[in-house]
């Protein structure tokens, strides 16, 4: 740039300054307005959207689909699309290093690449067109980042469309723009506006098609417990499902019963001082994750082939501490009863009463993959219809229903070989509390209502004589 152009630019700037404004207060006023707006926006976002809870990092959980920060998503989509290109797609560093490197390099050196002193938009049609296409491409790639290139049925259509919208069309358009501008045949800004416009519109349309064609799979919600009370509840549920069968609903089992292969095994009750005072949280975590394979406790941690994630095991440990360890004081809210107590004449429902009870006391054995006479109890239908003795387990209004018998400590004998037990007492290791047995009895005697509304319809108001009010 020669001295004369520089002088011209400076003179031109002076002229603009003369008809301009003052930094204080004119510009500062706008700055303050915008910053204040941003601050308010942030407070609103923090208050009403918040930070999505996430489970603790679990390096062993290889099933977790890794995703980069949102502002790198476009780069990952770009890599995935680029990987589809035959031959070239195999050379990864071209896309991870070379292309982004060139982009950042060009951006950095821009003042030395675009050297002409022209500043008006019409005179910079090439730069602005290329930048527009890039920015639209980045936005579209970000929006499409969740959509796979190969759909569940093996069709590659989505991948091809994405490659068209995200690579081919913008790539070709940019080449056309460069050629047109360097061969000097096209200087008319209209040409650039039209080419860019058409490119951008077709990119948006194709991406829109991709997003419409793709039906996102139902995502498995991972529940994250934030407060101690939530963690205790989450731990309690997990404990009920995974541990009750051997350790009992309150950890007091000293002799395992009703578990294949461990029948009669003597264990230290895990709610005892012996266990709670000698095992630290992290050792407890290890015991649960790794199990006690020699003694018969299977590993539960995902790292060792179990089903529980890091956070889930932490919740169980929290639950055990607060429930059984007398050095911890359990928050009052965590002591919510399992089900609302029944009034006289009130009929319990599956939803409100049976489900939480079954979850706590029965599901750990009565779910798929356990020994239980094929009796599954994870839903209303299953409870009523499954089991080797389904016909006799639950009979509306019949107090001889097998289920009612076994929970009242009467084993059912095999009618063909009367000396042999058909069904042992349930749960095998410890009798249920009388109020829980009462819930089961009332439920079956009144025809097993599913919802609270059905149950309310069966409510028989106690006769006046029964209530002796002074």
């Amino acid at each position: 740039m020669n001295e004369e152009t520089k002088k011209k630019i400076n003179a031109r700037y002076e002229k603009e300054l003369n008809k301009g404004e003052r930094f204080w207060p004119d510009s500062i006023f706008k700055d303050v307005v915008v910053s204040l707006g941003i601050f308010i926006l942030l407070v609103l976002l923090a208050s009403f959207v918040g930070v999505a809870p996430e489970p603790k990092a679990d390096p062993s959980d290889t099933s977790y689909i890794p995703r980069p920060e949102w502002y790198f998503l476009f780069l990952f989509k770009f890599l995935a699309l680029y990987g589809q290109i035959p031959l070239l797609g195999k050379i990864e560093w071209l896309a991870t290093v070379l292309i982004p490197g060139i982009a950042v390099g060009v951006l950095t050196l821009l003042p030395f690449i675009e050297k002409s002193p022209d500043r008006h938009y019409a005179k910079r049609a090439l730069s602005i067109s290329v930048m527009t296409i890039m920015v639209v491409g980045i936005i579209l790639l970000t929006l499409m980042s969740e959509i796979p290139t190969v759909s569940a049925d093996g069709s590659k259509l989505l991948g091809l469309l994405q490659a068209a919208a995200g690579l081919a069309i913008p790539g070709v358009a940019m080449i056309v723009l460069f050629i047109a501008s360097f061969t000097g045949r096209q200087t008319n800004p209209r040409f650039f506006i039209w080419t860019t416009g058409l490119t951008v519109v077709s990119m948006i349309i194709i991406s829109g098609m991709v997003m419409n064609l793709h039906t996102p799979p139902a995502v498995e919600e991972t529940e994250v417990a934030n407060t101690v009370v939530d963690q205790i509840f989450a731990g309690q549920d997990l404990y009920s499902v995974h541990c009750t069968e051997c350790h009992g609903d309150d950890g007091s089992v000293a002799v395992i019963e009703g578990v294949e292969g461990l029948e009669g095994e003597k264990i230290t009750p895990i709610n005892s001082h012996d266990v709670l005072y000698t095992i630290t949280d992290s050792a407890m975590y290890e015991v649960i994750a790794y199990g006690r394979p020699n003694a018969g406790m299977t590993p539960f941690g995902k790292a060792y082939g179990g089903e529980l994630s890091r956070s889930e095991i932490d919740y169980i440990v929290t639950y055990m501490r607060y429930m059984w360890d007398d050095r911890f004081e359990i928050p009052a809210e965590a002591l919510k009863p399992l089900f609302p107590p029944l009034a006289e004449g009130e009929v319990p429902s599956y939803e409100v009463h049976i489900q939480p009870i079954v979850k706590r006391y029965c599901i750990s054995c009565h779910r798929a993959g356990k020994e239980n006479n094929n009796y599954l109890m994870t839903s209303y239908e299953e409870i009523l219809t499954t089991g080797d003795n389904a016909a006799n387990n639950i009979i509306a209004g019949d107090e001889n229903s097998y289920l009612l018998q076994v929970i009242q400590e009467h084993a059912i004998m095999n009618p063909e070989k009367p000396a042999e037990e058909l069904i042992g007492v349930m749960p095998p290791n410890r009798a249920l509390k009388p109020n829980i047995v009462d819930v089961f009895i009332r439920w079956i005697m009144n025809g097993m209502p599913q919802t609270a509304i059905d149950a309310a319809a069966l409510f028989t108001i106690p006769t006046p004589e029964a209530t002796t009010t002074p």
Partner: protein, 219 residues
């Protein structure tokens, strides 16, 4: 009384000079798009303040990072607000800085005499992304852990020196306590120091050359 204090301070600090040189400057007719730079600055300061607060409770170790963040959210008065602002502020800062870059590009404000402002600006942009990248790992949750795993993998794909970069970022072949320590130190000391220095030069250059005017047909 106040007048006296002011005069005393002015004699020593040159407040009047500052006023004429920094605040009472002429500017070309302004535009709302010109507020994005100061908005970036505002976000940087806000991130700094909320970040300082977070370090009071945050513990950079794989065993405690997650729980300490959980404690900030649940146990500390207004911890959720501070973390929420810091969390969304990070996202917004990337967006705002990027749009600021775009507006400077569109109005061709990077041309003579503001080339150096632009160069420093690119440094600021990359440093802002670096802040986001290093900050993301700190809560040590699943998202963070795996995002950083793939992020550092990308860096590891550089031919010849990829292996070295990967190990330098992670402090070993895998993500570990060292990685967290490294990212923490980069996030609260190294990159903010770089950012603050660059912002200083950026602002000096802007005051020196003045805000560029919006281009017209004449330019």
């Amino acid at each position: 009384m106040w007048k006296k204090v002011y005069e005393w301070l002015d004699e020593r600090l040159g407040l009047n000079d500052m006023y004429t040189n920094l605040l009472d400057r002429p500017e070309p007719k302004g535009n709302w798009w010109n507020t994005l730079g100061s908005a970036s600055l505002f976000l940087f300061v806000l991130q700094g303040l909320t970040g300082i607060f977070l370090t009071v409770y945050y513990t950079p170790s794989p065993d405690h990072a997650y729980d300490s963040v959980q404690y900030i959210m649940e146990g500390v008065a207004f911890g959720w607000l501070i973390r929420g602002i810091h969390h969304w502020g990070a996202t917004l800062m990337v967006i705002v800085v990027f749009i600021h870059l775009l507006r400077v590009f569109i109005t061709a404000s990077f041309k003579f005499p503001r080339e150096l402002t632009w160069l420093i600006g690119i440094g600021l942009f990359l440093a802002t992304l670096g802040m986001g990248f290093t900050g993301y790992l700190l809560p040590w949750n699943q998202k963070a852990y795996w995002a950083t795993t793939v992020g550092t993998q990308i860096a590891g794909s550089v031919p010849f020196i990829g292996e070295f970069i990967l190990k330098a970022l992670r402090g070993g072949p895998d993500l570990s306590a060292l990685t967290l320590q490294r990212f923490f130190s980069a996030h609260i000391w190294i990159i903010p120091a770089v950012l603050a220095g660059l912002i200083g030069v950026h602002l000096f250059l802007i005051i020196k050359h003045g805000e560029s005017h919006f281009p017209t047909k004449e330019d």
